[in-house]
Structures are given as C-alpha cells and as structure tokens.
C-alpha cells in the first residue's frame, strides 16, 4: 500500500454505466454487485432474463465447444453492448485450498475481452486469488479504487453490499430448507444456480415440476460452510467450490428427499466427473437419480417426457414403501 495513487482521469463515474450480465455468477453475487455500485453511486444496468435470442446470439459469438452456460453469458454480454460503458466480469480463481472455481471463471474476463475486442465495450473486473492474498473484499475494493473512488468509501460500500448479499442468501436458504419438511414427493434439483435460475433453461423445468405437484427443493441453496464440510466426507479431493456445495447439500439431506435430478448443461466440465462420482457413491443409499444434460434445445417436450416417467417411478416407489409400512404395522 505504499504506492502513490493518482486519480484516473479516464473514469468519469458520474456518467459511467456498468453492465451486469444476468448469467453465471449473477445468481450468486447479484445483490452484492448491484448494492456495491449503488453505494458508490455508479449506475448499473442488468441484462434481461435469458431468452431464445440471447441464447442464439451467444452461441454464435462463443467458441463452439464452450459449455451452454458460457454461450448464454456471451449472449448477455452482447445484449448489453451500446447500453453501458463497462461490463462487470469478475475473475475468480479460488477461495482457498481445494476451493477452486471452474476454469471458465478464471478465464472469463479475458474470454469476454477477446471475443468482443472489436465492440465498444470494456471489461471491468476484480480478481479473487487467495494464493496472492486477494480475497473478495480486497479484490472489490481494489477495483473501486482503480475506478477513482477512495479507499474508505469503497470499503464501506463493500461492507454494506456484502451484508445485503449475506442476508439475501440466508433468507433464500431458510426458505429452501423449510421445503424439505413439506409433505408429498420431495424432489431435489441438483445443479449450478446459473442453470436452475436461468429463465430459459432451468426455470421451465422447475415450473413443470411445481405444476405437477412435486415438492421441489434446490440443492445449491444451502448453508455453504456445512456443505463444504460434508462434501469432504464423501469425496476428499473434490476441489470445485460449486460442486462441493451441491454434493455437500445432498449428503446433508440424504434422508429428506425421494429423488434427485442432476441437471447439467452440455458439456459441463465439473459435472462430467462429479455426477459420475455421485452415481457411484449412491449405491449405498439407493435414491433414484435422473441425470439430465441440457443443450441449446428450443423445445421442452423431450425433457418433460423424461421428467414425467421419473415422477412415475418416484410415485410408485412411495406407494410401495407406504404399503410395506402398513404390512409391517399389521
């Protein structure tokens, strides 16, 4: 902290607008980002929920082998061009030992700036890298300082934003965990939050399940610390933060649900290995698991057929179990 900081003339934060793509980590840090910039007095604009146009535009922009979530992200970035000066693309490497993020999040700012290098946007980024002692607070404060804000103001903004995010998280977790106690068939949707909450790929599935009278619980909304601890018991060298939360959440509630839908996008690097591991470990508990991989499809008929038959299995199992229970009582 001994360097002399010159105010940077290129940032004029009274008129500057920061674009936030409603994709990937938005569903994890959305409140934090929006509140942070609000506290600093910077205008933000969030892209519209995913629709077919965003998805097709994104697929055109992204490299063809990237995962669907990345393609959708590129669509969101494209939809923000012309509406803002900067686009917030954080780079998150890890949160500590065996708590790394997918490589995509490590490369994201550079992927965006290289794909869109001819477009009139610039990438605004903060860098979380614990091995270089850059935690979230320091990273975000450094970003704000580089934008010309004072240390004190940025620090204060971060604190408020983090508090708001924590509150929002714990509210969501509480709401979600309460659902485990509901009656009826409890089905856990296990997938990254950016898949489940995506308007175009995840939401229709949740909606379909809800309409069919299933008690849907999300695996990704969980007490993160406890989930990390539990995941280590199941798989000691599992190192991806996002996967560990989901795995840990399933372990914590293994007796509370009737079935699991492993929802991933094609071709998710993490899920390709972790889902297989879960299927193998599941031989002890014998919970029915449906493994579903979504790609850039436009219809939902195929997905619905598979969900329907899976629900039938769950219902039959429940009836058989109830029957066995009665026999045992008699």
């Amino acid at each position: 902290m001994d360097e002399i900081r010159m105010p940077k003339a290129e940032y004029n934060h009274h008129e500057m607008v920061v674009g936030i793509p409603r994709s990937l980590l938005y569903f994890r840090y959305g409140v934090l980002w929006e509140r942070f910039f609000q506290e600093l007095g910077v205008k933000t604009i969030t892209s519209a929920p995913t629709n077919l146009k965003i998805m097709t535009n994104g697929s055109r922009r992204a490299a063809s082998e990237m995962c669907l979530a990345m393609k959708i992200y590129m669509g969101h970035v494209e939809s923000l061009i012309g509406k803002c000066d900067y686009i917030l693309v954080p780079r998150i490497l890890d949160f500590g030992l065996r708590r790394v993020m997918c490589v995509n999040f490590e490369a994201l700012p550079d992927v965006v700036s290289n794909i869109f290098f001819e477009s009139p946007i610039r990438v605004l980024s903060y860098n979380i890298d614990v091995s270089k002692k850059l935690d979230e607070r320091r990273a975000m404060v450094e970003m704000a300082v580089s934008m010309g804000f004072s240390h004190g103001k940025s620090n204060k903004a971060y604190k408020k934003a983090r508090k708001a995010q924590n509150e929002a998280d714990s509210r969501a977790v509480k709401q979600n965990e309460a659902k485990y106690k509901n009656d009826g068939i409890t089905l856990v949707l296990a997938g990254h939050s950016y898949i489940l909450e995506d308007e175009y790929i995840g939401k229709p599935i949740m909606q379909y399940l809800n309409e069919n009278g299933v008690n849907v619980v999300r695996a990704d909304l969980v007490d993160r610390k406890a989930a990390l601890r539990e995941s280590e018991r199941l798989s000691p060298t599992l190192k991806w933060e996002l996967s560990r939360e989901i795995v840990g959440s399933l372990v914590m509630h293994v007796h509370d649900f009737d079935g699991v839908v492993l929802l991933s996008v094609y071709p998710c690097a993490l899920d390709s290995m972790v889902n297989d591991m879960m299927l193998r470990k599941n031989r002890i508990t014998h919970v029915p698991i449906l493994q579903m991989t979504l790609d850039a499809q436009t219809g939902t008929a195929g997905v619905e057929t598979r969900l329907e038959s899976f629900l039938d299995i769950l219902k039959m199992r429940k009836e058989v179990e109830a029957g066995n229970g009665r026999e045992a009582e008699a």
Binding site: A63, E65, M66, C67, R91, L93, L97, V100, C102, V103, N104, E106, A107, P109, D110, V111, S113, N114, I115, F117, V123, S125, N127, S235, P236, T237, L238, K239, W240, Y266, P267, C268, A269, L270, D271, S272, M273, V274, N275, D276, M277, R280, K281, T293
Partner: protein, 359 residues
C-alpha cells in the same frame, strides 16, 4: 532375514516419460516397476467403456492404461494431479477401478497437495517406509536429467526427421534411445544413451533447403505430448517435409517453467490474467511463433478441455493480428486417422502455397 515383499508400482502411460518413473521407482525407491504395454486402441476402448462419457479424453486413456497396468500385475498405482479436471482424475479413477473389483494400493498425489511441500515426503514414505534419502535424491535428480534429455531428443527429432534423405534413420535412432533408457541403471547409462542418440542424429544426412516450412504445435498438456493420444500428429506433419516445433513438454512446463510472472508481460496485450494452467504458456508460444514468422500453428486439445477452449478466442485474435494460419484439432476417442490425415494435408497444402506466394 527374509527380504520384504517389494511393491509392484505402475504409473499411467504418459508420452515417453514412463521410463523416468521406472528409473525413480527402481533406483530411488528400490521397488519393482511394472511397465504396461504401449497404449493401443484397446486401452482407449477400455477407458471409454468405464469412464463417464463427457469427461475429457485423457481421463479415458489414463483409466485404460491403469487397467492394463493392473492386468500386467501391478499392485500399487500412482496418480498425479493438476489444476484443471486433472486434479480430480485420481479419486474418480480409483472409485471406478474399485467398483470394477480390482484390488490395489493407491497413491493419489492430489490427497497430499495441501500447499506444503513437506507433505510429498509422506507420499514417498507410503510407498517405501525405509526409503533412503540419498539414493532417492540422486535418482530424483537423474530422473529430471532424463526428462530433459527425452525432451531435447524429441524436439530435435521432430524438427529434422521430415528432411532425412533415407527414410527411417531418425526413427531408428530414437527407438534405440528409448530402448537404452529402458535399460538405464545409473547416471552414466543415461548420459551415454543421450550422447549416442544425439551423435547419430547429427550424422544423418538431411536435405532441408534454405527455407523449410516451420509449424508450431501447441495445446493441451497431455494430448499434445502423447503420441498415441494425438494419433502421431507431429510425425504426420513432419513426414510432409515440415519442421515441427513444440514448446510444451515436461522440462519446459514443469522443470524450467519461466513462470507466470515472466511470461505474462509478453502477452499482456491479449489477456489481463492467467487464464488456465497452461494457457499463459500456450498464448505466449503462439505469439512467439507468429513473431518468428512460422508458417502455421496447430492447436491440439482433447474434446471438452475447458482451459484450451477458453484460449481459442485469444488464438483467433493472434491469428488475425499476425496473419498466421491456425489449425484447431480436437481429439476424442476416435478409431481412425483418415479424417485427421486429410485435414493435416489440406493445411500443409495451404501453408505451402502461401509460402510460395509470400516469398
């Protein structure tokens, strides 16, 4: 005193480096090393059968060669780790093998990657509790030298083998070198093997011409180094009469890695952060080849390799900036090489014509 039962240690096939592991296990740890047969289609089929279908291809080959090592009689397997999906290979492969009913001891170095270097000693102690520090250190250093020699020989080989006047001379020398390393018992054996191979290389008459075509090969760590995984890519390119250059190998990436700190400033025009475990090196190498006026680049990766997919936009930009043609190759568990051959030939025709026009 009855001699203690020695472990039969094996390591998945990685390019030519298994001889190094053998040397370290036999001379340093004083245990038996089991060398599985060279990888074939059967290896890949075995791996693809039991591995999850969307995992990257190296996992399938590694799993296949682990199965072949167990079939060859190994009772202890070693697995390394890395910073991408490779970090989870160890545990998943173990689970799959145990589910298949194999019984073996397993050393997954990912379990020891706690950030403290001391913990790796524990891993060695697990293999042989009586391991002596001095022979082990010596074998370790010899092993490193061996890696350097292998990389040097390979690099020389692919840069020159396309221009030999009588076909097959270079190949014979390289095969002799590999065989010599397989028999090496001490440092002087290793040095002799290297000296003999290099002096034979230098004696082979070549016809290079003033301006040979030069192609840089870069890409994913495992696939780019392993001849089996990339279906002899470098040989196929070299056979057309091309100097094939490749930076990515163990001595450059692991032993003498210049470091993120030194490489990154040279590519700061293209990216602000490190994009993945080998991304910085690959982007830097692509840029260097372009600056040196190479005639083309070949980017190699296995299907679904996230770090390499992520640098593709950067490579495309480098290609556009420096006007250098880039061939992108994605490898999966395919059986034939005809399609690959056609693409390589078409690429060769293009860069050759281009060279004639530019000169």
């Amino acid at each position: 005193m009855a001699e203690k039962q020695k472990r039969k240690i094996a390591f998945p096939m990685v390019a030519r480096y298994n001889e190094v592991v053998r040397y370290f296990v036999e001379e340093g740890l004083q245990q038996t090393y089991i060398m599985q047969p060279q990888m074939t289609r059967r290896t890949l089929k075995l791996g693809a059968k039991y591995a999850p279908d969307m995992v990257c291809t190296p996992f399938k080959t590694v799993l296949g060669s682990m199965i072949e090592a167990l079939e060859a009689g190994a009772d202890t397997l070693i697995m390394v780790f890395g910073y991408c999906r490779l970090g989870y290979y160890g545990e998943l492969a173990e689970t799959i093998l145990r589910d298949l009913g194999y019984e073996f001891d397993y050393l997954n170095l990912a379990e020891y990657s706690t950030g403290k270097k001391k913990d790796y000693l524990k891993a060695i102690k697990k293999l042989n509790p009586d391991a002596k520090a001095v022979p082990m250190g010596k074998a370790g250093l010899d092993g490193l030298k061996m890696i350097e020699y292998i990389d040097e020989v390979e690099s020389y080989y692919y840069q020159n083998c396309g221009f030999e006047t009588s076909k097959g001379e270079y190949r014979r020398a390289l095969n002799q070198f590999t065989a010599d390393l397989g028999r090496a018992k001490n440092r002087s054996d290793i040095d002799d093997a290297y000296d003999r191979c290099m002096s034979r290389f230098h004696e082979i008459p070549t016809d290079k011409g003033a301006f040979p075509l030069r192609v840089g090969v870069l890409g994913e760590y495992f696939t780019v180094m392993d001849e089996f995984s990339n279906v002899d890519l470098e040989q196929s390119i070299a056979d057309l009469g091309v100097e094939v250059h490749r930076w990515m190998n163990v001595s450059h990436r692991n032993i003498h890695y210049p470091g993120e700190k030194n490489l990154h400033p040279r590519i700061s025009k293209y990216c602000n952060y490190e994009m993945g475990p080998t991304s910085t090196a690959n982007i830097w190498y692509a840029k260097r080849c372009a600056e040196k006026g190479y005639d083309g680049l070949v980017h190699v990766k296995s299907a679904g390799c996230t770090p390499e997919i992520d640098i593709m936009p950067v490579l495309q930009r480098i290609g556009a900036d420096y006007k250098i043609p880039i061939l992108y190759l994605t490898y999966d568990s395919q059986d034939g090489d005809a399609g690959l051959q056609t693409r390589i030939e078409a690429f060769y025709d293009m860069i050759e014509m281009r060279k004639k026009v530019i000169r």
